[in-house]
């Protein structure tokens, strides 16, 4: 089974009627995949470590403060214990909302359909169509502390045609899986219209890059489509190669480029104008 085929097995939870109804009303088509809610493990770990360090500092200040000026000690104790209480409160709040202890949180799945997706939240089913998405910014960061890998953080910021915004992180669902699918579905919907629009002589702006019928540019520099022979993203930077050499411009952080897969597909198509899409 590839990742893009229906992804169900015997353990797949039943689809709530609310989801089915919402998907039907917005004409989302066939159900393709059900994704479990994020486990919030890194979030819990992060807040837990912060709260732990803060608690340790507070205990140290309490122990060391007995021989010093009373007024300073009281002020310091108030500051440190105040911060500790807040951090412990946030940690407890996150733990209570996590699938680790909350049955409700465990039931908040994401449902991917042919023409969009439904996110179950505490406010009910939220429905989104791929063709209502205007931009998706993606941020994937490998987190390290003192060289020790602490996992990868995924964040996708989606802006819709009606101006509303949706931020999807690892808290929402398995974004390592859903993130690329999101970019891919947006590209699938946008690519044919984008190519027709470009070939009619209209420009398209994607972040700091401007795409025209003749080429792609940034800040006044433009490379002709036919010159581009490769595109690469290394260490988060998108760069182009022409004539076997990597170009200094346009070079831009991938996180600053919306609809990244749409852009890559446009570049691939525009450098071969005779290729037909679909």
């Amino acid at each position: 089974m590839t990742r893009y085929e229906a992804d169900f097995d015997e353990g797949t939870p039943a689809v709530p009627g609310e989801v089915t109804q919402a998907a039907y009303e917005r004409r989302l088509g066939e159900l393709r995949q059900i994704l479990a809610p994020g486990r919030r493990s890194r979030l819990l770990f992060g807040w837990g470590v912060l709260a732990g360090i803060s608690l340790l500092l507070s205990l140290m200040v309490t122990a060391a403060g007995s021989s010093n000026d009373a007024q300073v000690v009281i002020t310091l104790l108030a500051v440190f214990w105040g911060i500790t209480v807040v951090l412990l409160g946030i940690f407890g709040w996150q733990l209570a909302r996590s699938p680790l202890v909350s049955a409700k949180a465990r039931s908040l799945h994401m449902y991917r359909f042919e023409h969009g997706f439904v996110q179950m939240t505490v406010r009910g089913a939220q429905v989104y169509r791929w063709d209502a998405i205007r931009t998706v910014y993606q941020s994937v960061e490998k987190i390290r502390a003192k060289g020790l890998p602490l996992g990868t953080r995924h964040e996708y910021s989606v802006l819709f045609a009606d101006g509303s915004r949706l931020n999807l992180t690892d808290v929402a669902t398995d974004m390592e899986n859903f993130g690329p699918v999101l970019l891919q579905e947006v590209a699938r919907v946008q690519l044919p219209k984008a190519l027709a629009y470009l070939r009619s002589g209209n420009p398209i702006v994607l972040g700091r890059l401007t795409l025209t019928k003749s080429g792609i540019g940034s800040g006044g520099d433009e490379i002709a489509w036919s010159w581009i022979d490769r595109v690469e993203i290394v260490d988060g930077v998108l760069r182009f190669s022409a004539g076997g050499s990597w170009l200094a411009s346009p070079k831009t952080p991938a996180r600053a480029v919306p609809n990244l897969y749409t852009l890559l597909a446009i570049v691939e198509q525009m450098r071969r104008p005779s290729t037909q899409v679909g």
Binding site: L50, Y137, K193, V205
Partner: protein
């Protein structure tokens, strides 16, 4: 899923996402946690080190006084000037951290504003060829 341009394999003949097959952006240095802890130390430092008067413990010092300091069981005598210099040093460190924090927040806000403008321009541009959604 069949896509017209061949789909998005991790590495195609034409483009490469990353050697690890991911859109790896930057290695985060746990900046948020470091920032919160820095603010804790900064807050504690600002409360603790009042340099308007030179103090030995909780008592104000006169220029002719000396201060007995004991650390890990080892005692040493500090002059008024040495105590004052130490307090000034802490104040400079606190101010430096404060300026760096303000600078960092300012830089973040400028970047966020730029990102918001680019996002609005991109959304408007995409809207021109996408038209209204189906439903």
């Amino acid at each position: 899923m069949a896509l017209g341009w061949g789909g998005f394999d991790r590495v195609s003949e034409f483009w490469t996402l990353d050697t690890n097959g991911d859109i790896v952006l930057i290695e985060q240095k746990n900046a948020i946690g470091a920032g919160i802890l820095a603010l804790m130390f900064l807050g504690g430092g600002l409360f603790a080190f009042d340099t308007s008067t030179v103090k030995c413990g909780s008592e104000a010092m006169a220029p002719t006084d000396t201060c007995q300091e004991t650390k890990k069981g080892v005692s040493r005598t500090l002059t008024y000037q040495e105590v004052k210099d130490s307090q000034v040093r802490w104040k400079v460190i606190s101010l430096g951290l404060g300026v760096a924090s303000v600078g960092g927040v300012g830089w973040y806000l400028v970047q966020a504003g730029r990102r918001r403008r680019e996002e609005q321009e991109s959304a408007a541009s995409v809207g021109l060829f996408m038209g209204p959604p189906t439903t």
